[in-house]
Symmetry: C2
Subunit: 276 residues, 2 copies
């Protein structure tokens, strides 16, 4: 089911600014037993994104009504929200009165093999680089050509994710997930000030790491630091945490901090589900 501004339709006007310019934002949310997981985190990021791009946010109630309507009968699914600056304007110039477009759609949960969270995944370095753009870095906006180009680099079903560097050789993230590594009991990840998307799962893990008195360092780092790590994993709202067992030809073991984070994450999700 797809709702566009609350109506059951599967089309949007050609002159929507989302289609014309990628002028909007999106969220991808896990639905478990009819409930959106980490909903408040996703809504908060959407509000922040709208504020950064100066897109007027409609009422939470309209959006949560749409979300409930689309997902309340789903056992396990993916919900996608797209918000755009709406219709019209002359060229890049926006119209005087903005009416944001909201699209809420439900999709089957991907049939990822059950052993990815335990045994880890194979990855590769992408040749497509992320550009540097501090003014929109971190935001989950609709300008995603870089990720599309990076994902088109491989077709091998044995490789689950590609790791992207920026144009100055810093390691940033995966094509669809944030990237973290562990060295000497400390977790490291990029700050995402110049490129990348600040994932909801990244935020959830930051909080879990702080709650359990582990250390997270956000810094710029190179390929060499990543390849010398003791544990490496990717995370997003749909996959949770997947350990990386291979980057190109370099092997990694599934480490104890990665497993520990997975356990804490499962506990947090169970607790939130019971209290929901």
């Amino acid at each position: 089911m797809i709702l566009v501004n609350g109506e059951v339709v599967d089309q949007i006007p050609v002159n929507d600014r989302g289609f014309q310019y990628g002028d909007g934002l999106f969220e991808t949310i896990e639905i478990f037993e009819g409930r959106p997981v980490f909903l408040e985190h996703h809504l908060q990021r959407l509000r922040t994104g709208c504020s950064s791009l100066k897109i007027p946010f409609f009422s939470d109630k309209q959006l949560t009504d749409d979300i409930h309507r689309v997902s309340h009968q789903a056992k396990h699914a993916v919900l996608k929200i797209i918000v755009t600056r709406g219709i019209g304007g002359r060229g890049y110039r926006q119209p005087k009165v903005l009416q944001a477009t909201r699209v809420v759609s439900l999709h089957p949960f991907p049939d990822y093999p059950f052993n990815f969270p335990n045994q880890g995944i194979n990855t590769r370095f992408c040749t497509t680089r992320l550009g540097l753009n501090p003014s929109i870095a971190g935001i989950k906006h609709l300008n995603r050509l870089e990720q599309v180009m990076a994902r088109s680099e491989w077709d091998d079903l044995e490789i689950q994710e590609g790791i992207m560097l920026d144009i100055t050789d810093n390691v940033i993230e995966g094509t669809m997930a944030n990237l973290m590594y562990v060295k000497n009991d400390t977790v490291y990840t990029d700050k995402l000030q110049f490129a990348g998307v600040k994932g909801v799962m990244r935020e959830v893990l930051k909080n879990l790491i702080a709650d359990h008195h582990l250390t997270l360092v956000e810094h710029s780092y190179r390929k060499e630091a990543l390849l010398a790590a003791e544990e490496v994993f990717v995370c997003n709202s749909i996959i949770g945490i997947w350990p990386i067992k291979k980057i190109d030809d370099v092997n990694f073991s599934v480490g104890k901090i990665t497993s520990q984070l997975q356990k804490w994450l499962t506990q947090l999700k169970e607790k939130a589900h019971l209290n929901d």
Copy 2:
């Protein structure tokens, strides 16, 4: 009139990758007395863009049929073409078989004041910066959030264009037009290797400048060089050439090379129209 894949409709599917990721390209073409101006240049850029983004190009005939159908009765209008990677795929990953979407639409020619080409326009420096991304720089793709954000900076009807710098303080272009300046009988413009769009009018002017034995230098330059120029102008396929008479508080005169280029451009368009 809007044609989507040759059908008269004004909607596209929500799951089109143009809407989901800005995964596509566009062209904006002047229509004069029913004929698309510099059509071959636009088609060539579209082909090159499709090749860069690995979007399969449909037949020229389909596209030119659409263009003719939409524009052959228009006296003076703007034609917009959008080409996307089409529908589907899982996340950023594209489907095995690609079927590009093509959208051809006609719009009224903007009612720009008649004195802009003679007396020039007022401009300002934008605070929004262009990011650096050599892998997609130059391409007229659908990831246009930077231009949207820059254009939203001002509402003053007296200001016709904003000039954008990149994040390293190089001057790149306008929000909707390429930028050139003249100093000591030489024309200068940015190379557009790291940011910006390689405009069709920019290409046309490059050829005119070469044909008339003037010198064009493509190089990186700063605000100071621009402000010390003798003549400054912007160009695109719709406006042609507009001299700049003011950047923030700095005044410029309409110069002789700018006027000469305008004359050559008019002659070229007249000749092409007669031979068409």
